[in-house]
Each structure stands twice: as structure tokens, then as C-alpha cells.
């Protein structure tokens, strides 16, 4: 009986340590708007980003911008749609299709692989996408245009 209680207390202490350790190591996470670094594009407003990713043609510094949707993880897409586009995924797809069918606009290409997304960003002039801050830190040749959202819960 005493052995069982000792094991139970030991497990509880381990869980507490793991939990508090995780909390201490948590870092602030930001969603960034990015493009390749050798471009004249300097910044975009939230309204311009929303317009661009809804399929509306946007031209800045005499360059037609091309939105690329980052779907490499479900959370990054959901946060982007909720915080920047203000739509659920279903509404967003419906809205894009409506524009295509009604006005002949083009839907932004969707990338599920981060490497392919970065490759497209580097290869396509005027291309713009969104990524977590730690993803951007790991990539070369990209620059941050703006902070779209910051996780304020630690």
C-alpha cells in the first residue's frame, strides 16, 4: 500500500514539474506576413492583406501581388483566417469561389509543404504569404512585412 502511494506521489510531482517546466519555456508566438527579401515591397496594411487573400487584385510599387496560402499546419491557416480575414474556412472558400465564378478572379494557390511554399515565395516576384515567427527564423531569403497576430497567452 505504501509503495503504491509513494509511486502515486512521485508521478504527481513529475507531472507538476513537467507542467511548470513547459510554462517556463513557453515563448511568444507571432504570425508574420512575409515575402522574399530582395523586393521593393515594404509593408501592407491589414485591409490590403485581407483584400489580397480574398482574391481581389492588389498592386503595390507597380507590382501585382500574388497571395500564397500557407496550409502547412491547420493552426496557422485557422489563425490567419480568423484574425485577418475574419471568416471560417468554409466561409472563406465560399467567398473565393463566388469571386472566381462571378468576376473571373483567381484563387490563391495553397501550399501544404513549407519547403514548397518558401520555394514559391523565392521564385515568384510579388508573392506574399504568412508564417509563424519560428518558421521565418529558420528560412533564408525571406523578410517580414508585418506582424499579423501575436499570441498573448503565456
Amino acid at each position: 500500500m505504501q509503495i503504491r502511494e509513494a509511486i502515486r506521489y512521485t508521478l504527481l510531482i513529475c507531472l507538476f514539474l513537467i507542467y511548470s517546466g513547459t510554462g517556463a519555456q513557453s515563448t511568444q508566438r507571432s504570425l508574420l506576413l512575409v515575402c522574399r527579401d530582395n523586393t521593393t515591397l515594404e509593408s501592407l496594411t491589414h485591409a490590403e492583406v485581407r483584400k489580397l487573400f480574398l482574391g481581389v487584385p492588389v498592386t503595390k510599387t507597380q507590382m501585382r501581388l500574388k497571395p500564397l496560402v500557407n496550409a502547412s499546419d491547420q493552426l496557422v491557416t485557422e489563425v490567419f483566417l480568423q484574425q485577418v480575414i475574419f471568416m471560417s474556412k468554409r466561409e472563406y472558400e465560399r467567398q473565393l469561389l463566388s469571386r472566381v465564378f462571378r468576376l473571373g478572379d483567381q484563387r490563391p494557390p495553397v501550399y501544404e509543404d513549407t519547403d514548397l511554399l518558401v520555394e514559391a515565395l523565392l521564385d515568384t516576384p510579388g508573392s506574399v504569404s504568412f508564417m509563424w515567427s519560428e518558421q521565418v527564423e529558420r528560412q533564408k531569403g525571406l523578410k517580414t512585412l508585418s506582424v499579423l497576430w501575436t499570441d498573448s497567452t503565456d
Binding site: P57, G104, Q106
Partner: protein, 355 residues
């Protein structure tokens, strides 16, 4: 149209379809979107009177083929409907983007109201199976010009994250025989068309959102020599609203129609009001329920509606839609309908998809 004529027409359509599908996807700076909307549906009608113009049951199947291409500021948009009952080029537009405006030339959808400018022929995009009768397509016994051929300018003015949309069309409209016939772009000399003008405005409380409110006015001169009338001069004007707040969506519109039948010794005029209201609720990601009411005021002995007896004057309907297996939807719709001199019930079933 004789048998050989149909074959030639089908051949024309297939050539256009092939060139649409095999045009470059993203070559030489050309970006293209292709969409296919297949559908299969059945209608069952009950309580038809003995002199009814409608059939008890019928079914239909087909596919709507859509392509939109963009090269710099140049645009191309084509929509082709191939079904059991008809083969039509529904839209064929060449355009130019100038800032937030688009200038189109070709055959396009008349920008009257919400329904006709949003859903077109892609059955999968609209929640219900049927369209409100006031915005029914010409070849499905519609009473208003839904397709025009000519010039269309449309765009959105942005201010304080709100939008003011506009559309202006100068075009030729349909001819009236036993039904309205829009210009056939594959055989433009086959009919007799005249002037059609449309002006529309709408307000988006949040720019590029689904919620919007608008108004429109449309003037048509519709040749009808085949039925003993020189022309029908028609003015239709109205308002509409679309309110989208998940899980609810509401769409409603009111139309006022004034028609003047131009004849040698006589020019009778008449007018009536028609409208619809549709409510939709997304129960979850897959199931949606919907209901719609449609009504016509002062249309009982209307001289224009007498020429188009299939028009559904009043309707109450309810139904559901199941979205499953990706882009497939299964729909059921039950309605009570009143046409000139007849009341009947209708059950509609439809599968449609988008690829």
C-alpha cells in the same frame, strides 16, 4: 431547330468547350481557373390540374463547365451548360481590369438583384435546388432578361473598410416568343434583339464580405413579333439584401415590373410586384436547412404574365442540403406552387458537385 442544325450547334459548343479546357493553365503568365459542376436531379409533381402545362415528373442531368483566365489586365470568362434539355454558352466575356473596376464585353448575366449576379449556373454554389421564379433563367420559363450581350462595367469603391459596388450594362436583351430567348452567341443572326440597360448599386458594410444591400433598375425593349406584339417595353426595378451571420443566412428581394405591350393600334400597360425571402441555417459543417417564400402582388390578370403562363406566382418551400465526400452535395426540396390557373406540390431531389 432541325436535326442537322442541332448537330452543327452541338459541334460548335464542343469546339468551344475543348478550346476552353485545353487553354493554358499557367503558361506565359496566363493564370486560369477551371471548374466543373455536374448535376443529376428529379422532380415529382402532384395535384396538377387536367389542363396543366406542367408534366407530372421529369429528370435532368448535365454539367456546367466554367473557365476564367487572366493575362496581366486582360480577362477571359466562359461558362457552358450541357444538359439533357439544353446546350448553351451561358457566359462568354472578354474583359479588362482597370484599378478596382472591370470592363467586360460579351454575353454576361444581367446584374439585377443578388441571386442572378452571385449563383449563375453552378448548382453546387446555391444552397437550394431551385431559383426564385422571378430570377429564373429564360429557358426555364423566366420572365426577366437574365442574360445580356454587350458592355458591362462593374467594380467596388472602397471607403473606411466599407464597399460601394456598382454595375452598368448597355446591351441587347432577349426576344419573346413562347418564352424569352437571349441572344445566341453561336448564331447571333438567328433572333431579333433590342436594347437593354441596367444600373445597379450595392453597399457592403464590411468590404468584400457576404453581407450586402443593393438596388437596381433595368430597362428592356423586347421584340415579340412572333406572338403579334411589336415590342414589350419593360422597366424592372428593385431592392435586395443579403445578411450573413453564421450559422444564419438570409436573402430577400423585391421587384417592381412595368410592362407596355407595343402594338399598332393599342399599347396596353400593366405592372405588378414580386419578391422572395430565403432563410438558411448551417446545423453543422455538413447539414443545412433552408426555407423560402415567394409572392406576386397585382399579378392576377397581368397582360405580360399572361404571355408566360409557366411563371410561378407564389411558392412556399423547405428543404435540406447535405455536403459530404468533399465537394458533393445532396439536396431535397419540397414546395407548394401556384401558377396561372393551377396549384401543385413538388418534390425535388438533386445531387451536384464541384471539381
Amino acid at each position: 431547330m432541325n436535326h442537322n442544325g442541332r448537330k452543327v450547334r452541338l459541334l460548335h459548343i464542343l469546339i468551344v468547350a475543348t478550346s476552353m479546357v485545353y487553354s493554358p493553365t499557367s503558361q506565359g503568365g496566363i493564370d486560369s481557373e477551371y471548374l466543373l459542376f455536374p448535376f443529376l436531379g428529379a422532380n415529382f409533381r402532384s395535384d396538377l390540374s387536367s389542363h396543366s402545362l406542367s408534366h407530372n415528373d421529369d429528370y435532368n442531368y448535365g454539367v456546367d463547365i466554367f473557365v476564367a483566365s487572366e493575362y496581366r489586365n486582360f480577362l477571359f470568362l466562359g461558362e457552358l451548360l450541357l444538359s439533357k434539355h439544353e446546350q448553351h454558352i451561358e457566359r462568354l466575356q472578354l474583359g479588362w481590369t482597370a484599378g478596382d473596376s472591370k470592363i467586360w464585353f460579351g454575353r454576361f448575366h444581367n446584374p439585377i438583384g443578388y441571386w442572378n449576379s452571385q449563383f449563375h449556373h453552378g448548382a453546387n454554389l446555391q444552397t437550394s435546388i431551385s431559383r426564385p421564379s422571378i430570377v429564373e433563367f429564360e429557358h426555364d420559363d423566366g420572365i426577366l432578361p437574365m442574360h445580356l450581350t454587350g458592355l458591362l462595367v462593374e467594380g467596388v469603391l472602397e471607403r473606411d473598410n466599407q464597399g460601394l459596388g456598382y454595375a452598368f450594362a448597355v446591351a441587347v436583351g432577349p426576344e419573346l416568343s413562347d418564352k424569352l430567348e437571349a441572344l445566341d452567341v453561336l448564331n447571333p443572326g438567328s433572333g431579333s434583339q433590342d436594347l437593354s440597360l441596367t444600373f445597379a448599386l450595392y453597399h457592403e458594410p464590411v468590404l468584400y464580405s457576404a453581407t450586402r444591400y443593393g438596388l437596381f433598375v433595368n430597362y428592356n425593349e423586347i421584340p415579340a413579333v412572333g406572338i403579334g406584339i411589336d415590342e414589350v417595353h419593360q422597366v424592372n426595378a428593385g431592392v435586395y439584401g443579403r445578411w450573413d451571420h453564421q450559422p444564419w443566412r438570409f436573402t430577400g428581394s423585391m421587384f417592381y415590373l412595368h410592362n407596355s405591350l407595343q402594338q399598332v393600334n393599342l399599347t396596353p400597360t400593366d405592372d405588378f410586384v414580386s419578391g422572395y425571402f430565403q432563410a438558411e441555417n448551417n446545423l453543422d459543417d455538413q447539414w443545412t436547412i433552408f426555407g423560402r417564400v415567394e409572392w406576386t402582388f397585382a399579378g392576377e390578370d397581368d397582360i405580360y404574365l399572361a404571355l408566360l403562363p409557366h411563371y410561378v406566382k407564389d411558392r412556399v418551400l423547405g428543404g435540406f442540403r447535405l455536403d459530404a465526400f468533399g465537394r458533393h452535395s445532396f439536396k431535397l426540396e419540397i414546395s407548394g406552387n401556384r401558377v396561372q390557373g393551377d396549384n401543385f406540390g413538388q418534390v425535388m431531389l438533386q445531387w451536384d458537385a464541384m471539381f
